[in-house]
């Protein structure tokens, strides 16, 4: 095994100056003949899970929604839980790439590329669920304003249609933003390529970028404005997702706190996912000196802050349920915390509010094992948050004759597992074939920090 390439990742990078070394340390991951054995193991598992997604969607289309546990009164269950969960995960990428860019936070450059990739893959996972939950999967185009045989248009005053536009715009803009950031780095890969195929493919995607300063000028202006446009966009997307619930008349959903509460939760879960992915990635691919501990620590501080905001929202929901004097509202919340789904509620509270408080200790927020365990728990907790909001609000309708208890089927589990398969497959391919760190941006920062020379 001495000839395996990944050994070289633990060698000092090539190049006679700091900038060349930066190029090498990031790009050699995509250029090595073989990735580390850990990548193969992870990829095999991910593709297997992706296969489960394929099987469960195929069976769903063949048989119908009945294969899931959704049953009156719980007509929205894991399908919408998964949708909101994945959309929320995506928010971290845009937050890091746009908001932290506008706030001139230099530590973002180490992680923004991977976080943006994660955004796109998470939104792809999210988009599956509204597409397959509609029961007649050959008619999803009814959500879009396309002329049809009924001469009807979508109902633009419906929050469900706002959702189509919000998530659609979000996916498109995130993809464009990510691609614009990638162009100079793909050009680096093209110029270092040794095979014709690589030179052709990377050459096509870099569109002939040669680093002209006249082009950089327009490029930077476009990037800055994209960041400024993405900032209100990312705040709007989860607000619109929360309108799906907040504009309904159902106790447990009909609350004005939902938009900020959902946005804080989205950033919380997304940051946790970024750290969960980057800790193993920087270990495997030898990027410890580019994605440094101080970057991970800053991420964990944001997780602590947003986790506390989420905890405040949980408390405020209960307070308003009591303060409103509405007996239905009061029942919905007492039922949530002490009813048949109390186990889910308290799982959510412990994972989202209690465990992240350990990040007050520097020893824990700078320990790799500490942050892996807490951030996986945060992701579990945030999935449960959406489950709790959706299922516990629905399962006890106004009339006790319409009370029920939702039990997921094996197909619910398989679809959720499968969506993780899609996410990990795409992320692993990204790690293997594209620069995981925004090299040009890191170089620019390096030059700025060292007075322009070296």
């Amino acid at each position: 095994m001495a000839s395996v390439d990944y050994d070289s990742w633990y060698q000092p990078p090539k190049g006679d100056n700091e900038i060349a070394k930066l190029t090498d340390v990031v790009l050699r991951v995509a250029e090595a003949k073989r990735p580390p054995i850990g990548w193969y193991i992870a990829f095999t598992i991910a593709v297997g899970m992706l296969g489960i997604l394929g099987i469960s969607i195929a069976w769903l289309f063949w048989t119908g929604i009945g294969i899931w546990g959704n049953m009156h009164p719980v007509v929205w269950a894991w399908d919408i839980t998964n949708f909101v969960f994945w959309v929320g995960i995506g928010h971290a990428g845009t937050l890091i790439s746009a908001i932290l860019f506008l706030l001139r936070q230099p530590w973002r450059t180490a992680i923004n590329r991977a976080a943006e990739a994660m955004t796109i893959f998470a939104v792809m996972c999210a988009l599956i669920f509204p597409g397959i939950h509609i029961g007649r999967p050959w008619l999803p185009y009814w959500m879009l304003p396309i002329p049809n045989q009924m001469d009807m248009w979508p109902q633009f005053r419906s929050p469900l249609d706002w959702d189509v536009f919000a998530v659609g715009t979000y996916f498109t803009v995130s993809l464009l933003f990510w691609y614009v950031g990638l162009i100079p780095d793909i050009a680096s890969l093209r110029d270092r390529a040794t095979s014709t195929v690589r030179r052709f493919v990377y050459g096509m995607f870099s569109m002939g970028w040669r680093g002209s300063s006249r082009q950089w000028h327009r490029y930077e202006r476009a990037y800055l404005i994209l960041a400024a446009l993405s900032t209100p966009l990312v705040l709007s997307v989860h607000s619109v997702v929360s309108f799906d619930f907040a504009t309904a008349q159902l106790p447990g959903w009909h609350t004005t706190i939902f938009p900020p509460y959902f946005v804080a939760g989205a950033i919380f879960s997304g940051f946790a996912m970024v750290v969960t992915l980057l800790v193993p990635a920087r270990q495997f691919f030898g990027l410890k000196n580019v994605i440094e501990m101080k970057h991970l620590e800053a991420m964990n501080k944001v997780i602590l802050a947003t986790g506390t905001m989420v905890g405040y929202s949980y408390g405020m929901e209960f307070f308003i349920a009591w303060y409103s004097g509405s007996s239905y509202e009061g029942f919905a919340f007492i039922n949530r915390a002490f009813g048949p789904y109390a186990w889910a509620y308290w799982t959510m509270v412990s994972c989202n509010v209690i465990f992240p408080q350990l990040y007050w200790f520097k020893g824990i927020r700078t320990s790799l094992w500490g942050m892996m365990i807490i951030n996986v728990l945060v992701n579990v907790g945030m999935w449960f948050e959406r489950f709790v909001i959706i299922v516990t609000s629905l399962h006890r309708d106004f009339v006790p004759s319409s009370w029920g208890y939702y039990i997921p089927t094996k197909w619910d589990f398989m679809t959720l597992t499968g969506s993780f398969g899609l996410f990990f497959t795409l992320f692993l391919l990204f790690c293997r074939y594209l620069p995981m760190v925004a090299v040009a941006e890191v170089k620019a920062q390096h030059a700025a920090a060292h007075g322009g020379g070296h």
Partner: protein, 413 residues
């Protein structure tokens, strides 16, 4: 990149495209760029692996018009979204949802915002690419091996031979004395094919032609008829094991899927034996008295006033004169089929037995619907008590007033 050098017949050496100078650091590049700028060149550029801070000033690059294009894109997106939502839901196919207006800005803000951002972002990306003349598949610099480091760690100045100030000797010495690590000729690219290879062209044409087939099939299907039954994509949904209302079921003797109530059964709480309370009748005749269980007191009156406000005022108006909002609207539409609601203070209804009014509320009359399902019997009686009070108030006489009220009337009059 078309950097494969192909031997191709051309006479003589390739003409000069320009001169390339390489620098080792951004600071050296800045000094070189300032020199070239001060020499008055126009057709020149610098190439860097990352955006170098301050190079815009050193080169004299004017601010791009891109932000204005993006503003235009945003305004277009905003106008498109507002205009389309108004036209689609308010004009082309008006959707009446819970009596809300067909068009209101508040409900259309989310989509308007999203499309503003979408159009502006698309303009930002494609505007940037277009202004930068990207994609640019080939460039003479691609043939320079040295230039591959432009995306790694080196900084370059390219002065084009087409510049009016360009002079091969002078420009070379200018670049050499500007702190450059190396200066080289850049010949024009005469090796690469200037046109798309034939094979790729044919493949693109075939793909373009093939991509129209699905649309053609859809168009054909819409215009043609077929004797075959429709496809059942999800049979579980199309054929469900259940009987729908009003269908036949051979299992039962009467062959009906709907099962009638078994004779003599009464649902819990629906045994309405008290004819006076539930039908407003005494021995088959409309009662002139309230049932004994209804107490004509202030509590019942207040309950009646409240229920009247909820159920009756939309048509009959606040004082029961038949001038509610629905009546106003129907009259203004003047469509001819409208039966106006009764004026409950007129003599005919004032003299009507309470039992008959109860019967009207319970079962409806003319186009007034029955309210038995919505209003419990006790509340219906409370409403009638309040109606009686309204009638009395509209036909009051001087002797109905107290001494004090009478005195105040005389003083005021």
């Amino acid at each position: 990149m078309s950097s494969e050098p192909k031997p191709k017949a051309h006479s003589g050496p390739a003409p000069l495209h320009g001169l390339l100078a390489e620098y080792e650091s951004p600071a050296a590049l800045m000094r070189g760029a300032e020199k070239v700028r001060n020499a008055g060149f126009r057709n020149w550029d610098t190439f860097t692996p990352f955006p170098v801070h301050g190079i815009d000033g050193a080169m004299g690059i004017k601010p791009t018009i891109l932000p204005w294009l993006i503003l235009g894109g945003g305004i277009t997106g905003c106008a498109t979204a507002l205009g389309f939502q108004w036209w689609a839901n308010g004009v082309d196919y008006p959707f009446l949802i819970s009596g809300k207006p067909y068009w209101s800005v508040a409900a259309n803000i989310p989509i308007t915002f999203e499309l503003t951002v979408l159009f502006a972002s698309i303009t930002a990306v494609f505007g940037m690419l277009a202004l930068n003349k990207l994609p640019m598949p080939a460039h003479p610099l691609d043939l320079k091996e040295r230039f591959a480091r432009a995306t790694d760690d080196r900084f370059y100045v390219l002065v084009q031979a087409s510049d009016p100030v360009f002079d091969e000797k002078d420009t070379r010495s200018l670049l050499e004395t500007s702190g450059a690590a190396a200066v080289e000729d850049v010949p024009e690219d005469v090796a690469s094919e200037p046109e798309l290879p034939r094979g790729i062209l044919y493949v693109l044409l075939i793909v373009a032609a093939a991509s129209t087939i699905p649309f053609a099939m859809a168009a054909y299907a819409r215009e043609s008829k077929s004797p075959l039954p429709r496809h059942h994509i999800v049979p579980d949904m199309d054929f469900q094991q259940k009987f729908k209302a009003q269908r036949m079921n051979p299992f039962f003797a009467d062959k009906r899927a709907d099962r009638p109530q078994i004779e003599g059964t009464i649902a819990i709480g629906e045994l309405h034996e008290d004819e006076h309370l539930y039908a407003g009748k005494l021995n088959g005749v409309f009662a002139r008295t309230f049932p004994p269980s209804i107490h004509a007191d202030a509590t019942t009156m207040e309950r009646g006033r409240e229920r009247f406000g909820i159920y009756c005022t939309p048509c009959h108006g606040q004082v029961g004169e038949g001038d509610g909002m629905v009546a106003h609207r129907a009259t203004s539409l003047s469509e001819g089929t409208w039966v106006p609601p009764s004026n409950m203070t007129e003599e005919r209804i004032r003299l009507m037995p309470v039992g008959e009014i109860f019967n009207t509320v319970t079962n409806g009359v003319r186009n007034m619907p029955p309210y038995a399902r919505q209003i419990p019997a006790e509340d219906r009686w409370a409403i009638i008590l309040y109606v009686r009070a309204l009638q009395r108030s509209r036909a009051a006489e001087l002797r109905d007033l107290s001494e004090q009220e009478r005195a105040s009337l005389i003083r005021g009059g």
